[in-house]
């Protein structure tokens, strides 16, 4: 009965399984930590901490789906971060003056351009010169990390431009309660419209329709999840000290019980969600995405069908570079400093997130949503163990073991269902 109903919703069972695993991890940590895990504060922090890895995992799906790998993104993040740090603290202030309103935008544009360029360069060497991506990006891992050091001979660049820092979150870098609710309701409306449109289209072509209860359950669950997330981030107030300063600056009288100002959704989380939506759209609704998956499934067939496989692979690496730049901007903004070791080992976390999220290293299989959920899962494990006071070496052991176990389970599941 239940199985039939789940099938009728046409939801991705693996994705549901992952959401279930995530919920289980959260509850276990909540109990073990004596009620510290499932609090607005911890969940809000978790969302911000997950953002950089989630952003890059969305791009890694494309790279892995086309039977490639990118080991260079952690170093690339560090190098681009250093360049962005230097531009906003050293180059632009000399030209425009300190704290110029255009500084953040020019810095970000330069960083994104650099990310695209580095990605395109690596993609060209891989796709057109035929050097395996593992080797090219392994080289990139060393080269860009070295380059990050050279930018300032290893010196840390800080502090950063005030506006740029909003990209990293924090009380100021969040959109507040009102806008969070607005976005939440817009998202719900979009979900309803998309479901209704899909149903209309299927009706038009006389295809079998999903049963109506299934439609309602899917739409209802999606909207409930969105609104619950908004409620959680809106329940996390600004710290008292910041509220006091804010109240003084704006001449607001603080009432007796203290002033409650909610964080709302953090800007880096918005960036990650936006990235996820755009990348999912690319993967499922455009020719580029279709070709990436076809190449992963059977490169020869794609070639025979007239797909320009090399150009598609080059574009995947360009996207990956762009997303590494975005993640770099978020990371240095959050730290309020650019260091040459920023993003060390990030490539492995990103690959692990993608793989836990159901991306197959043999190519052709994987979803953006799964990979991003994988990133949240990895981050949940890590911050949960921090809450429990687990030593760093043991944390690594647990994360490593979970990665292997998750992929092992998935392999068994795939073999059983033959899909």
């Amino acid at each position: 009965m239940l199985a039939r109903f789940i099938k009728s919703t046409e939801l991705d069972i693996r994705l549901l399984g992952m959401a279930g695993a995530l919920a289980l991890i959260w509850i276990v940590f909540h109990v073990l930590s004596g009620g510290l895990f499932l609090t607005p504060r911890n969940l809000w922090n978790l969302s911000v901490q997950s953002a950089p890895v989630a952003i890059m995992a969305a791009g890694m799906v494309f790279v892995i789906v086309t039977r490639n790998i990118d080991l260079s993104i952690g170093s690339m993040l560090g190098f681009i971060g250093m360049i962005m740090g230097t531009i906003q603290t050293d180059v632009l202030p000399k030209v425009l003056g300190f704290e110029h309103p255009a500084t953040w935008a020019l810095t970000l544009a330069a960083g994104l351009g650099l990310g695209l360029g580095l990605g395109a360069f690596q993609g060209f060497v891989i796709a057109y010169l035929g050097i395996p991506s593992f080797i090219v990006t392994l080289g990139g891992l060393l080269v860009w990390r070295g380059a990050a050091w050279w930018v300032t001979s290893g010196q840390t660049v800080a502090p950063l431009d005030d506006t740029f820092r909003l990209l990293g979150g924090g009380p100021e870098g969040s959109i507040g309660a009102t806008w969070s609710w607005v976005l939440g309701f817009v998202a719900c409306a979009t979900i309803v419209v998309v479901l209704a449109h899909g149903r209309g289209q299927r009706k038009k072509f006389h295809f079998p329709l999903r049963p109506m209860p299934a439609e309602f359950v899917v739409g209802g669950m999606a909207c409930a999840a969105v609104l619950a997330a908004v409620a959680v981030v809106n329940a996390y107030p600004w710290p008292v000290g910041i509220v006091r300063r804010y109240a003084e600056a704006n001449h607001i009288a603080v009432p007796d019980g203290g002033l409650f100002i909610a964080h709302g959704i953090a800007i880096p989380v918005l960036i990650a969600i936006g990235t996820g939506v755009v990348m999912s759209f690319l993967a499922t609704r455009t020719r580029f995405g279709r070709y990436a998956y076809a190449i992963g499934g059977n490169p020869e067939a794609a070639e025979l069908a007239g797909v320009d496989t090399r150009w598609v692979i080059l574009k995947c690496f360009m996207l990956m570079g762009l997303l590494a730049a975005i993640a770099g901007a978020v990371s240095i903004a959050r730290l309020n400093a650019a260091t040459n070791s920023e993003g060390t080992l990030a490539e492995l976390l990103v690959i692990a997130a993608a793989v836990i999220g159901g991306t197959s290293l043999s190519g052709g299989v994987g979803t953006v949503a799964g990979a991003m959920l994988g990133a949240v899962l990895m981050q949940s494990l890590q911050s949960g163990m921090v809450l429990l006071g687990v030593d760093t070496p043991l944390q690594n052991i647990v994360v490593g073991a979970v990665l292997v176990a998750a992929v092992g389970l998935d392999t068994v599941y795939r073999r059983r269902s033959a899909i």
Partner: protein
């Protein structure tokens, strides 16, 4: 059948290094006809059709399509002349569904430039439904389909874009008897639609079942060409193994003198 042939290949030769993979081969194909190409491995039949489908370039010889000289340098050229190929390896992307495979490289798009999956699925249901009314699994990746269903997808892909000339490389290899029968049914249907089909097969029963004419090759040369009704299986086996051309067949360069 003295109309203009759909395909007329004349004196086609192609050598790899010093080996004559195809040596002065001439073969015709008429509309609504199945022409079987048979012979041992390495007899040159696959090489011959790859020249027609644009995968290989011939050293010499001419190809005429509907009586007009055709220049075929790559698979895209061949497609322009309405030549489509289904490969032995099926050449499907296993991980995406039937409609995505059908339209791979030629996707239908909405007016915003996004993939029009619904329209593609509708078209896929139409085409595959015509070929194989039992086909239901439009949402599953092709990997999950049976061999016969996969072959239906491969053939539908070929005919979707109005192929007039179909090259089928071992369409029934690796299929169970029931599925092979299904594919045979498909071939008859296509024939009655007026397509010309080159059928490469190892299975002599298949050939006698499906083909109108048969062309036997050995060592890159044609042993002989005959109407299936005029020769026996033993005679065809004699042609394949010994290169002996029976009286009912028109001998080629590869025929052994008695």
């Amino acid at each position: 059948m003295d109309r203009t042939p759909l395909v007329a290949m004349r004196d086609i030769s192609l050598a790899f290094g010093g080996v004559h993979a195809v040596d002065r081969v001439s073969v015709d194909l008429y509309p609504g006809e199945v022409m079987a190409l048979v012979g041992h491995n390495g007899a040159g039949k696959s090489t011959l059709v790859k020249i027609l489908s644009g995968a290989y370039r011939r050293d010499s010889g001419t190809i005429a399509i509907r009586g007009e000289e055709a220049s075929i340098a790559n698979p895209r050229d061949a497609r322009k002349y309405g030549i489509e190929t289904t490969y032995q390896s099926l050449a499907l992307a296993d991980n995406v569904d039937a409609a995505a495979n059908l339209f791979l490289g030629r996707e239908l798009r909405t007016r915003w430039g996004t993939l029009d999956d619904i329209a593609m699925e509708a078209e896929a249901r139409k085409v595959i439904g015509r070929l194989n009314p039992n086909f239901q699994r439009f949402k599953d990746p092709v990997k999950a389909l049976s061999g016969g269903e996969r072959q239906s997808v491969a053939i539908a892909r070929a005919i979707l874009f109005d192929a007039r000339i179909l090259i089928m490389d071992e369409p029934t290899a690796a299929l169970g008897p029931q599925e092979a029968a299904q594919v045979g049914e498909l071939i008859r249907k296509l024939k009655s639609d007026g397509l010309g089909i080159f059928l490469i097969s190892h299975d002599i029963h298949d050939v006698f079942d499906l083909a109108d004419r048969i062309c036997v090759m050995k060592n890159g040369r044609v042993v002989g060409t005959a109407r299936v009704a005029h020769v026996t299986k033993d005679e065809v086996l004699g042609m394949i193994i010994l290169g002996k051309c029976p009286t009912a067949a028109a001998p080629g360069l590869g025929a052994v003198e008695d």
